[in-house]
Symmetry: C2
Subunit: 455 residues, 2 copies
């Protein structure tokens, strides 16, 4: 016998149950995207390597999956080239698998700029590939689910993304905290501390306050080369008290002398004011320690944590001012967020929040009692399908035990067994396998059958 086949490490098959759950997540999310006017696009799995290289740093370049040119890829490779593996790879590979959805989106916007009406609101749900070392929760193929609007600086879009997060997780039944920061606040803080070049160090230190305490954070700031004067400026930020509004007021006093800082204050004040007006239901929190993608984002930064389940952030994003500049189209500001489908999958599973009726199983199995009996039930099957029920007919005239067994193992909740007597009487019966409840119907009384199936 041949060896049992397998799939590449870090990749996954999704069976019917996983797919039903994943489709539930993606359709819930994309339904909300549509309510806010975002339209779906798709880009090819393969991009030119020239599009991808240099966009994710040296480490990212190494993690790109490269595709061997078709035809005789090695025709021009000479023995001396082999000393430089990377040069050979670049000679024999022109294409790579997309690494994320952001760079292909930037490429899409620039390539199709004449056909796009700005502000352009798009979402994209597609797999990406990274040659990372596979480990628990980290895959070489995984889906990203990105929603962005480009071509406007309006803070109403920051609000819209918060509204989308709010509604998505309400629909999924997950309680979350939406954490918000703004890069301009962090830049302003570094500026007033006289350490504009140490913005990232400061943010990382702030992030540790809950874990290691005030003294240790101050010690870390010292180690990073900040002066006592700088630390004295930063200390009040570590001790911020009160609700979001109070925190914003305290920050506005700290940042008063920084132009960029006060621009950040104006933005964050406006966004929180919009959030209050919009009646966001989930918890929303100003979090000065949020440093997500700091080199990339230029304004708002978002991160979403599940409140009732221990896992990393399940959604995040922010405002970027020059997404498309890498492809030569300047001054296109955008803001977007990305939903972490794999983690949301785990949260729903851990909290047992998948809808009960989500199963991939059919609703009704019609037993096979011979060719005549199958003929007899065919119109009933068609009528139930027309009403939206998933209906299967057992393929062979097997023993009833085997047919029951198939229904049970497949998770089919209802079975219908109709033979000569039912045909003679013009009836059809339905049995709820879990409850044992059974009922007989006139063959054409589909309404009554539907009512029974929906009980």
């Amino acid at each position: 016998m041949a060896q049992k086949p397998s799939i590449p490490k870090g990749t996954r098959d999704f069976g019917p149950v996983e797919m039903a759950r994943r489709n539930y997540i993606f359709s819930t999310i994309s339904d909300v995207f549509h309510l806010f006017g975002y339209a779906q696009i798709e880009t090819p799995a393969m991009e030119n390597l020239s599009t991808l290289l240099g966009k994710y740093g040296d480490e990212g370049d190494k993690l790109l999956f490269k595709i061997l040119n078709s035809g005789d890829a090695f025709a021009g490779v000479t023995p001396d080239m082999l000393e430089n593996s990377n040069a050979v790879a670049m000679k024999v590979c022109e294409k790579g698998l997309r690494y994320d959805l952001t760079v292909p989106f930037a490429r899409f916007v620039v390539q199709h700029q004449n056909d796009i009406h700005f502000p352009f609101k798009r979402y994209q749900i597609q797999p990406v590939w990274r040659a990372d070392r596979p480990q628990k929760g980290r895959y070489r193929e995984f889906y990203q689910c990105d929603v962005d609007v480009v071509g406007s600086q309006s803070l109403l879009y920051e609000l819209e993304l918060v509204q989308i997060v709010d509604l998505v997780f309400a629909k999924l039944g997950i309680n979350v905290c939406i954490k918000i920061n703004n890069r301009k606040l962090l830049a302003g803080l570094a500026e007033v501390a006289g350490a504009a070049d140490k913005m990232v160090d400061i943010t990382v230190a702030i992030d540790k306050i809950d874990k290691i305490g005030l003294d240790a954070v101050k010690e870390e700031l010292r180690e990073k080369g900040l002066s006592e004067e700088a630390i004295a400026v930063i200390e009040p930020v570590l001790l911020l008290q009160g609700d979001n509004e109070a925190k914003i007021e305290q920050m506005s006093r700290i940042l008063a002398s920084s132009e960029v800082g006060m621009k950040g204050i104006a933005e964050i004040r406006e966004l929180f004011s919009l959030i209050v007006s919009a009646g966001i239901l989930q918890k929303v929190e100003l979090d000065l320690s949020l440093a997500r993608g700091l080199n990339y984002y230029t304004g708002a930064i978002f991160e979403v944590k599940a409140l009732d389940y221990e896992i990393g952030s399940i959604c995040g994003g922010g405002r970027y001012d020059d997404l498309t500049g890498i492809f030569g189209l300047k001054n296109v500001s955008g803001v977007g967020i990305s939903f972490g489908a794999d983690r949301i999958y785990d949260v729903l599973l851990g909290l047992d929040k998948y809808p009960a009726a989500l199963g991939s199983a059919p609703d009704v199995l019609f037993a096979n009692m011979g060719r005549e009996a199958v003929n007899y039930v065919m119109p009933v099957c068609a009528a139930l399908r027309e009403r939206g029920f998933s209906v299967v007919v057992f393929p062979d005239e097997s023993k009833l035990g085997k047919q029951f067994d198939y229904a049970t193992r497949s998770g089919i909740p209802f079975i219908s067994i109709n033979a000569d007597s039912e045909a003679a009487a013009g009836t059809v019966n339905l049995k709820n396998l879990a409850e044992g409840k059974q009922q007989t119907f006139a063959k054409d009384d589909v309404d009554a059958m539907v009512a029974f199936l929906r009980q």
Copy 2:
């Protein structure tokens, strides 16, 4: 300015309009699959090359996209190896992109055989990649849409696939002819003609009868080496008259002495009888010239043609008796069909059969008349979204002309303009841009707004 970026040849971006159409096709098809109890699975884009190689013939092997191993792929490549390009490729590539959905499905069934309940009914809608020369209608990345059931020889599944085809194209509004053949009929014909090794030649010749006429077909059979006696046996098949039933009767006389032929007759007679019982609405036709995948299929063969639009087959498939044998699992019979999404896309476009309301555009634009006015309409936006409408707010307090222009260019059918006077009166108005019709509503009378939007 940087060079405008592009995508690899033979690949495509799908914008909002294309995606809305494609989603319409895929959701129509997959809804029908669900009604018949088929569940979705997905497999990774990358498979081990050992899984893919040798499954599609030499030509197919050449068309596989191979993925360069990550890390130092060329570490073990010595200069002398460069003489054999293929050997180098096999050394530096362990993975390839899937070429179709059939081989990955076979691999899936074998790999997960202990978790699967047979008969296993699955569908799969995913892209595949082929390093073909791109040309009109032929892409290097395209979606396949396959539905199969494995682990049963019941002809009820052949019927089920015909029912699925019937319902899918009814829902899409495409009139089709479902052509059916059976490999056993062709094998039987070759047998009774004393030319069992010439089954393909005979089928190809039969296929030309309408185009080149009886004499030319007979001439072609002679050229292929068939004797006059053999041609005399085949001639009545070229002259088959009447409806499906009549054709089956004529064939049963021709094939009377062939065991495999009469098995084919029994199968085709049973299938057409089931088709009549099931009340299939589309045209169904026995077509002895159907040779699709003849080396692969072992029983029924299906092909679907659009009746009102000139294009190749838009759907096809058949019964295969040893799909999983290549991976060591014997005796798993299956039957399946594949929908040609790209062609169906073109047929719907050519026949203008896409639903009018399919657009990717939002339903309503709320004009931005300043921050207070936006606050005022926010609850209305939320209420309309709760009722399923796609609602957007213009991002800036721009001139009204610009806001109208955005609505028009984006294809948004309704605009709502509310300023101080509306806020004072507690009203909201809605205007149908195409018809110019306008109406004013109490702010909380969402039912009336919904009625107006649905007119």
